[in-house]
């Protein structure tokens, strides 16, 4: 009897791609930097694995990244299950509106793109840019 998480091979060890683990993390970090440069409404972002491990992040120092990543993965998982239970298909994105800002979670294969966006953001433009990033991330997961 055995279970395996084989889905993370690319992210974990670079065994399936011609890139070292460090190289992959660096690529991911660059993707986030580029996202925040091209989309000023995004003020914090992270790429996490569905098991709650952080792959790359640009979030405020005071945030406990590990716990935040676990929360984001859980929120996405629960939302996805709820949609399936209600027979509404796959989850496209999870938008959480707060008084101070908004959080958007999007699946990218076995990764999750997590972003914090300003409360008065142009959502159409933000979503468009996030989808581009998701497509890019799918190459790794």
């Amino acid at each position: 009897m055995c279970w395996k998480i084989s889905i993370f091979k690319k992210i974990l060890g670079g065994r399936n791609v011609n890139m070292s683990k460090k190289g992959i993390f660096e690529e991911m970090r660059k993707i986030l930097v580029k996202l925040e440069e091209t989309t000023p409404d995004v003020f914090a972002s992270a790429i996490i694995r569905k098991d709650g491990l952080i792959v790359a992040s640009a979030v405020p120092e005071e945030v406990n990244k590990r716990v935040f990543a676990a929360m984001a993965a859980s929120a996405l998982g629960a939302s996805s299950r709820a949609l399936k239970e209600l027979k509404q298909g796959n989850l496209k994105r999870l938008l959480v509106e707060g008084e101070g800002g908004q959080m958007v979670l999007m699946e990218a294969g076995q990764l999750v793109l997590t972003t914090l966006i300003r409360k008065d953001a142009n959502l159409g433009l933000v979503f468009m840019n996030l989808e581009k990033v998701v497509d890019e991330l799918k190459k790794y997961a």
């Binding site: 055995c2 993390f25 929360m71």
Partner: protein, 154 residues
Amino acid sequence: MKEEGMEVTRFLNIIIYGFQKALWEVMGEAAIAASYPVGKSMLEIMKKELGLKVAGEKPEDVLNGIAKRLTEDFKIAKEVKIGKSGDTITVDVEGCICLPVTQRLINTGIKPFACPFTNIAMAAMEELLGIPTGISSLEVNSPKCKIVFEMLRK
């Protein structure tokens, strides 16, 4: 008295199974994300209330230290062997008291995410060495269990 103890263990295992199954049904594979916070809480309590001291500069030292306490003092398992190759750590556990839960979960199609050794080890590795760790696989061959971790050094 020994039989009474076994019944208590069996009952606690049923509770652990129930919680894990419920979390899995609600969150799916994202339930694995709970492993780290669970381990962090367990490690804190074990340090404060049970005097667990974890130290070491290498992953295998930290894990061997935990394994020693869990087997010799807390009697959670009969034997735990740690192996390391690159960023992969292999943990061979024999006679774990939680094995029936793990077995039942795998039989039900659930990836066990509340294995006490795994969770404590993950939390300790991150706390002491700053190395995030994820589970790659868990293989049960009663009474033995093989857990494989991957370290995510950045």
